[in-house]
């Protein structure tokens, strides 16, 4: 497709779309089964809590049935994990543990395409993203952490570090495999064993990962996967045999979990919601900033906890930036997640689609202006157009709460101090973006923005070596890097 510097006229656009030939990634590489059980103690077991259907959000059709683990299933998994921990994983030579994790990383790279297609089928994300980001980054997390397993004495110099035991990990539906790897890799590297609870709507890649872990010959029980919905997760959180819970998901559920573990010895890390501010100054490189804004909010349909969902643009350039942004949004292709040209895929579930619709309708009712580019949407499945919300006062629900969809609110500011005040006017604190060519302004802003991760002149960058996590109601604890390791270790002073 030819690109032009200026916005295409309406006629050009029509022609572009009329002549469009999709480039569909084949589903054949994935061998789907009718139903899947739980993976406990190295074998597949039927769930005792019934089953639930997982849906392809681009069609609304059922892909497969998976187990809905009940409290007994969770108990079996925790017992298996405990046995595996005490029977050897804990005491395995660190280099051997490292080699196991390297193996998983390599096997994942071998089967990257299969995982990418399955991820896009089950979750609705564009194949371009699952292929170029989710799967390679998952492998990178495994590879990075594998190398830590035999170097833990350097993780916290001067202190002694021991594994915690059995860790329960509850992950969300927006990055299913990435979150699984992100959680399993450091846990295993530090010598813990795992009970993983994938999200209700996206369990398939975690189950395929469990297959692959068996293929890598890990001892039975080291990684157990119990699929299910909220009750399954709650059973895991309240299990007395779990030494640590790592949760990624909504702030609401995070608070429930916090209450559930109150008064127990269970350690907890929470990676929760966000309402990231994206601050653009008048001296910013505007083309790059617009790309960053688009990536910040439309990446993965905006189903991203660290999404830059609030644009704060300096008043003097607001019209210019919004014009560029609208032009760019007109070119975003919304549709089939398996089309390699798709920019914005399917909304993950019908429930999430309704939630996003409710937010945007509410904003309209509160007097905000809504902009959405045109173009056809597929007839079946769950879709939402990239959306720009302007005319906000700042107190609207859409300006304060996490939408978790492709919806960007816009406000303006005049001074740095005003930008900081507006950016920090939220209870969240996960990410923030700064666009300016002035270095001292970046550092001054970065110090003052309430966020665990700051992206300056870039956005949505992730790396296993970089600690990720929030402040305030975006949760606590870090994942990734040296800092993330410490969340899976009992760190005590070295005995004299």
């Amino acid at each position: 497709m030819a690109t032009t510097d200026s916005a295409p006229e309406a006629g050009d656009l029509a022609q572009t779309f009329a002549g469009y030939v999709p480039s569909i990634e084949s589903r054949d590489i994935v061998e789907l089964r009718e139903s899947y059980g739980l993976v406990i103690d190295g074998e597949e077991r039927e769930s005792r809590g019934g089953s639930l259907a997982t849906i392809d959000p681009s069609s609304g059709e059922r892909i497969a049935e998976v187990g809905a683990g009940n409290a007994e299933d969770v108990d079996d998994a925790v017992v298996a994990a405990r046995r595996a921990f005490e029977a050897g994983w804990r005491d395995l030579a660190p280099r051997v543990r490292a080699k196991y994790i390297f193996r998983i990383a390599r096997l994942l790279q071998d089967r990257a395409r299969e995982f990418a297609v399955l991820e896009s089928m089950d979750g609705g994300k564009p194949i371009r993203e699952s292929r170029d980001i989710d799967i390679p980054l998952s492998a990178a997390h495994l590879f990075y952490h594998a190398g830590w397993a035999d170097k833990l004495e350097y993780a916290v110099p001067g202190m002694s570090a021991r594994p915690l035991g059995v860790v329960g990990q509850i992950i969300p539906w927006n990055f299913p495999l990435l979150m699984a790897s992100w959680k399993i890799a450091p846990a295993l590297a530090c010598g813990n064993t795992v009970v993983l609870k994938p999200a209700e709507t996206t369990p398939l890649t975690a189950l395929l990962l469990a297959d692959l872990i068996q293929e890598a010959d890990l001892p039975p029980g080291v990684v157990n996967v119990v699929t299910g919905a909220g009750e399954t997760g709650a059973a895991l959180v309240s299990h007395p045999g779990v030494d640590k819970i790592a949760f990624t998901g909504s702030t609401g559920v995070g608070k429930q979990i916090r209450r559930q573990v109150a008064g127990t010895k269970t350690r907890l890390t929470l990676e929760l919601g966000g309402k990231g501010a994206h601050v653009v100054f008048e001296d910013a490189a505007l083309d790059q900033a617009v790309e960053g804004i688009v990536d910040g909010i439309f990446f993965n349909q905006g189903h991203v906890c660290c999404a830059g969902s609030r644009l704060l643009v300096q008043e003097s350039i607001a019209d210019d930036v919004l014009n560029r942004l609208r032009r760019r949004m007109e070119r975003l292709r919304v549709g089939d997640p398996l089309d390699k040209n798709t920019d914005v895929g399917a909304i993950n579930s019908h429930a999430q689609l309704e939630r996003i619709q409710e937010f945007v309708e509410g904003a309209e009712a509160e007097g905000c202006r809504i902009y959405q580019p045109g173009g056809d949407l597929p007839e079946r499945g769950f879709w939402f157009r990239p959306t720009l919300v302007t005319g906000l006062g700042g107190s609207e629900r859409i300006a304060r709460e996490e939408v978790f969809g492709p919806v960007l609110t816009v406000q303006t500011f005049r001074t740095e101090a005003e930008a900081v005040a507006k950016a920090n006017a939220t209870r969240y604190g996960l990410s923030a973006g700064i666009w300016t060519e002035k270095g001292s302004r970046i550092l001054w802003m970065a110090e003052r923005l309430h966020a665990g991760v700051i992206w300056a002149n870039t956005f949505n960058q992730f790396d296993p070596a970089s600690p990720f996590g929030g402040v305030r109601e975006s949760g606590f604890g870090r994942e990734g890097g040296r800092h993330g390791l410490q969340e899976y270790l009992d760190v005590t002073p070295v005995a004299p």
């Binding site: 608070k255 929760l272 790396d463 600690p467 402040v471 109601e473």
Partner: protein, 280 residues
């Protein structure tokens, strides 16, 4: 002349650099082991707690903006002033039943602990921060940031070390604090305010409330503008309830006991990570 009538001290709260009585007008009696009344110490109320949090919040940003080196020097100054006041503090401990040896040991470990943390301020980022080797053309830096306002439940029987052991690492990392203690620690808690007031610690960075943990801590746990609670001195049977209440704004809950090591420094800080492209 030995028959001079002595001037007795009024034991008050320390909020925003001033020494108010409790707005509630309430006091609690502190007695010697023999039951003699030593003082009617101000008993902090919910409103006093709110005022203290307000003062702490107002002071926090500029305190954390100071260079770690400067915070370290001010902490060292706290230790210096404490050394000068050690006779007074020892006598207050002895009055509530400490042996002379124990009173001396408490003051000395508290002073030495303050020195430890004074020297930690400009090491924290060395120890927990740094460049992360990400797989791309980026500079990626992590460093420690303070939580914000910390509520510190110092043990009622922890003496000065119990109290200062929590305050020092918290302010070392750039937090402001509201510290709470009662019981046998009430007298020295109040007196410690005089140390902070004369140590170049900016008003509001340290606020001290004498009172009852069982009434004050649930209010602190419910308070939306407190970012962390250290429950080292909280009564064991209320910890579960406090942790559940803390979920409301996800304030962090720690129990450092003021242990002088990296774990305590980490408990009072969080990691912020900054990315910037390194490609033109």
């Amino acid at each position: 002349m030995t028959d001079r009538l002595s001037v007795k001290k009024t034991y008050k709260l320390f909020i925003g650099g001033a020494f108010p009585r409790s707005e509630s007008g309430r006091t609690m009696v502190v007695t010697s082991p023999e039951g003699a009344v030593l003082a009617h110490v101000a008993k902090a109320s919910r409103k006093d707690l709110r005022e203290a949090v307000r003062a702490a919040r107002a002071a926090q940003q500029s305190w954390s903006d100071r260079a770690p080196y400067n915070r370290g020097q001010i902490l060292y100054r706290v230790a210096e002033i404490l050394e000068g006041r050690s006779a007074q503090l020892r006598s207050e401990l002895e009055a509530v039943g400490y042996s002379a040896d124990n009173a001396r040991a408490d003051v000395e470990t508290a002073i030495d602990g303050a020195i430890y943390w004074a020297g930690f301020a400009d090491k924290l980022d060395h120890l927990v921060g740094g460049v992360n080797p990400v797989a791309g053309p980026f500079l990626n830096l992590s460093h420690a940031i303070p939580l914000g306002v910390c509520a510190l439940a110092a043990p009622d029987d922890g003496g000065i070390r119990g109290l200062l052991g929590l305050i020092a690492p918290a302010i070392m990392a750039g937090n402001s604090v509201v510290a709470i203690a009662g019981g046998r620690s009430a007298l020295v808690t109040s007196t410690l305010g005089e140390v902070f007031a004369t140590s170049d610690v900016p008003a509001g960075v340290v606020n001290l409330l004498t009172g009852d943990h069982r009434s004050l801590l649930p209010w602190a746990a419910d308070h939306d503008d407190i970012d962390l609670m250290d429950l080292s001195g909280a009564p064991v049977d209320v910890v579960a309830d406090l942790e559940a209440r803390a979920a409301q704004n996800l304030k962090r809950v720690a129990r450092t006991d003021g242990t002088e090591d990296i774990n305590t420094a980490r408990a009072f800080s969080e990691i912020k990570t900054i990315w910037h492209p390194a490609r033109i």
